[in-house]
């Protein structure tokens, strides 16, 4: 379904009511179901867009790098406002959350083409080129390093690999891991993965061997292996680099996983923002097929069949959550599924499914080739191996760093040349914001876990503005399924804004804490379980910043009086005279 919608969107520039009816008819679904899917994904639109859509990343990192000035410049040059389309239907201009180019911000997508290091001065030239050639590819005059220069990628993106480590950039010969795995029984491979204590690199850190064992044990005729290349967490871009430079290793890892759990089919779920890598990845898959590394009887192993297809995403952070990702692969709204059953029991199309992050799969071949002892000798007792970190923000050497687990935040900041770091966000929007006293903490599952994002902010940045941006992000990206996350996050943001406007009172901090607690406790999936974090963790790490903005009131009564009178006015405007609101009855415990 998502593929069909992409084809229609690309052709018509929209998926309107008529198209929806037609798609429903052809696919034996209902029009409103199609509408439900179209309206879920940011890259689909029911109103006609321009042939060239310019999507500017408006993440806080890009804001600090000057994206607003770039946006103004685009508005002036194109003669349209953000969110609009030119009357000739050639150009649309809009904002989008992190596109995984934080190390070369401000960045934008022009259709599938990535444009990095934007400045207001460059905009005129960009628009001129686009108007002349009508082809976004013409914007790439100089390609980036490594495979970014491959004819099928041809992107100006730079890898910015600043530090290579022993696992992901291991020098073992290609296919050594797969060769070794196929000499063992599937159970033998599972054992190695369990013994290596490999844990998921996508955020949650679930033991990979355990996950694979569950899937292998589930009774089913068919099993699936899915690679999560949705990389939607703001500030994370390490999977982009792995997909560009280590695609063979990734597919090798997926193939080993398929052998271990007994899967015959695999899916690589690629976020829409990385569509520029699709042709190259297809090419890698095709090459592996022709070399007998995918398809039937892989490497001559009788009975081992496995192949992979690429599934494009369409712009939804929540689709990185594994059960949403599965919904999305099934052509539905990318909403999480209820658990239990877990994906390893009943995942894609109800079949046992292993979902792992790109980096997790990339760890597998070297681990098999060199053995669990080697793997556990790197890192810490509960976090073996290395972690690929994406460092961006206020630093002189942004990029990816493969470092052993257990490295301190301070070490990373020093390596990256962080400028006067005052606040560091570990793990992106859903992670924790820490201040200087905590820079000695270590990156590992025992202390500070992260899917890879390290975003540094210097002392002249405004912590509240940062938290506020990430709340916006969660509000936009909430799937809306459950009440606390759909509605509660909006209230969190409004509460924070009140403080930012200087209207806050001491009680507002408790309000935010309590509201955050309800959202975390009652939400249905990981997005809601972490969405209050930007505010809660910054309140914890920077209490003085918050309290400096609060109004001191001589007594409780006045504070209460202000809230009340503000509300009364709202009530009159809204003509609310409800028993429930106006008459106090019953006592609140």
């Amino acid at each position: 379904m998502i593929d069909i919608l992409w084809a229609v969107q690309d052709k018509l520039g929209c998926i309107d009511g008529e198209a929806m009816s037609l798609i429903a008819e052809k696919t034996g679904t209902y029009r409103v179901e199609v509408e439900g899917v179209v309206s879920f994904y940011a890259f689909f639109s029911s109103v006609r867009k321009g042939k060239i859509v310019i999507r500017l990343c408006d993440d806080i990192v890009d804001r600090h790098a000057g994206v607003f000035a770039v946006a103004k410049s685009f508005e002036n040059t194109l003669g349209i406002k953000l969110g609009e389309t030119t009357p000739d239907h050639w150009f649309s201009l809009e904002y989008t959350p992190c596109i995984g180019m934080c190390d070369q911000a401000p960045a934008a997508l022009v259709n599938d083409v990535v444009v990095t290091n934007l400045t207001p001065a460059k905009v005129k030239g960009i628009v001129r080129t686009l108007k002349k050639t009508r082809d976004p590819r013409a914007l790439v005059t100089k390609t980036g390093d490594g495979n970014n220069g491959h004819r099928l990628i041809a992107a100006m993106v730079k890898n910015n690999i600043r530090h290579t480590g022993p696992v992901l950039f291991d020098k073992s010969p290609a296919e050594a891991g797969l060769k070794q795995a196929l000499t063992l029984s599937p159970g033998g491979v599972l054992e190695l993965v369990v013994d290596s204590r490999l844990r998921g690199r996508g955020g949650a850190g679930f033991p990979t061997g355990k996950k694979w064992r569950y899937a292998a044990a589930a009774q089913a005729a068919l099993r699936y292996v899915i690679c999560n290349a949705d990389e939607g967490e703001p500030g994370t871009f390490k999977d982009r680099v792995l997909l560009t430079e280590r695609a063979q290793l990734l597919i090798e890892g997926m193939t080993i996983a398929a052998y271990a759990v007994g899967a015959a089919e695999g899916i690589l779920y690629l976020r829409a923002e990385y569509r520029y890598l699709k042709a190259y990845l297809e090419h890698i898959l095709a090459r592996r097929r022709s070399r007998g590394l995918l398809g039937d009887n892989i490497m001559g192993k009788a009975g081992f069949h496995f192949d992979i297809r690429i599934q494009m995403g369409a712009g939804a952070y929540i689709c990185g959550e594994e059960s949403s990702l599965i919904s999305s692969c099934e052509g539905k709204r990318g909403e999480p599924k209820n658990r239990p059953p877990f994906p390893v029991q009943s995942g894609y199309l109800g079949l046992p499914t292993v979902v792992n992050n790109v980096e997790t799969f990339c760890c597998v071949p070297p681990l098999i080739a060199r053995g669990p002892k080697w793997f556990t000798s790197i890192g810490t007792p509960h976090s073996s191996g290395t972690k690929l970190l994406s460092v961006s923000g206020d630093c002189t050497r942004p990029g990816v760093y493969e470092l052993p687990f257990g490295v301190s935040v301070q070490d990373v900041l020093d390596k990256a040349g962080a400028k006067d770091p005052a606040a560091v966000l570990i793990g992106g929007a859903s992670g924790d914001m820490i201040g200087r006293p905590e820079f000695q903490r270590r990156i590992c599952f025992e202390d500070l876990p992260t899917a890879g994002a390290i975003t540094t902010f210097s002392s002249h940045r405004n912590v509240l503005e940062i938290a506020n941006y990430y709340m916006d992000f969660f509000i936009d990206e909430s799937c809306g399924y459950c009440t606390p996350c759909r509605v509660g996050n909006v209230f969190m943001k409004q509460g924070l804004e009140k403080i930012m406007q200087g209207l806050g009172e001491a009680g507002d901090l408790d309000y935010l804490r309590e509201l955050g607690k309800t959202i975390i406790a009652t939400s249905r999936c990981g997005l809601g379980h972490t969405s209050p974090n930007p505010i809660l963790s910054s309140m914890k790490s920077f209490p003085l910043v918050y309290s400096a903005l609060l109004n001191a009131h001589p007594n409780e009564f006045q504070a209460g009086f202000n809230i009340q009178s503000a509300l009364d006015e709202a009530r009159v405007i809204a003509k609310r005279r409800s028993l429930i609101y106006d008459v106090s009855y019953g006592d609140e415990e």
């Binding site: 209902y30 409103v32 439900g36 599924k337 809306g480 459950c482 309800t518 609101y581 415990e589």
Partner: protein, 255 residues
């Protein structure tokens, strides 16, 4: 495997059968767990979160969480009650609810839940006051989206009981709403005789049966007679077990 098990709810031991949700086990035992999106006869979907309980220390939705042998459930504690209050308040503030002029007043589950949870003042949250369309195109049915709480009961009723698929969710996040299977309701095959349009399905005053409004006088309306949940709590020991459709659809109500 088919043996019944015991779970504890607020210290009281009750029976549960394998595969049963906490909600269904509680219902059968006459213990009321507040709920809005879940209703007998439909597949549970777990979206309003009002049925949040603590099971062995973790907060879960009772309507979708399977009971496990020996599970200890907290249902009526202050912590849980406060979560539920927050959720019900969120639903009030998300839409536009003016109870005194609302046709559903007195039989509205949202309103009744607020009473049951003793929500009095609404000083905490801002009102979002969204601008939402009213679809009055259909001759017999009107949809006032201002009062929709996105419980999805109409979606499941139309799809699973009526076999029609008149409704579905569209949009995401705070812009999520109920869409209909055409430009407007009149252009769909919806009928006033659909189960989805019956008074049992929409818990609030969003799906309105035209010309039938305000049928019960104040004092004789459904929740004037007894508070919400009383029906469960006054159930006899050996009543007919709860009705659930075949889980031919996914447990989250999707195919």
């Amino acid at each position: 495997m088919n043996k019944t098990m015991r779970i504890t709810v607020d210290g009281r031991k009750i029976r549960a059968s394998p595969g049963q949700t906490i909600m269904d086990a509680c219902d059968d035992a006459g213990v009321y767990v507040p709920r809005l999106c879940d209703v007998e006869g439909l597949v549970p979907q777990g979206s309003c979160r009002v049925c949040t309980v603590k099971a062995d220390g973790h907060t879960v939705a009772a309507c979708t969480e399977p009971a496990e042998p020996g599970m200890k459930v907290e249902n009526d504690t202050l912590e849980i009650k406060n979560y539920r209050r927050d959720l019900v308040r969120m639903l009030f503030h998300e839409g536009n609810h003016l109870c005194p002029i609302c046709e559903a007043s007195g039989r509205c589950e949202l309103q009744a839940m607020a009473y049951r949870l003793r929500i009095s003042q609404a000083t905490k949250y801002p009102y979002l006051q969204p601008v939402r369309p009213v679809d009055a195109s259909h001759p017999d049915i009107a949809l006032d989206n201002n009062r929709c709480i996105l419980c999805g009961r109409c979606i499941r009723a139309s799809r699973d009981v009526d076999g029609k698929h008149v409704f579905e969710y569209v949009g995401r996040g705070i812009h999520k709403r109920i869409g209909v299977n055409a430009e407007n309701l009149a252009a769909t095959n919806a009928s006033i005789d659909d189960y989805a349009m019956s008074l049992e399905v929409c818990p609030v005053g969003c799906i309105i049966r035209k010309r039938e409004g305000f049928f019960a006088p104040i004092g004789a309306r459904q929740f004037d007679r007894e508070p919400i949940g009383m029906d469960v709590e006054t159930r006899q020991e050996h009543h007919v077990p709860k009705r659930r459709p075949d889980p031919a659809f996914g447990n989250d109500g999707t195919k």
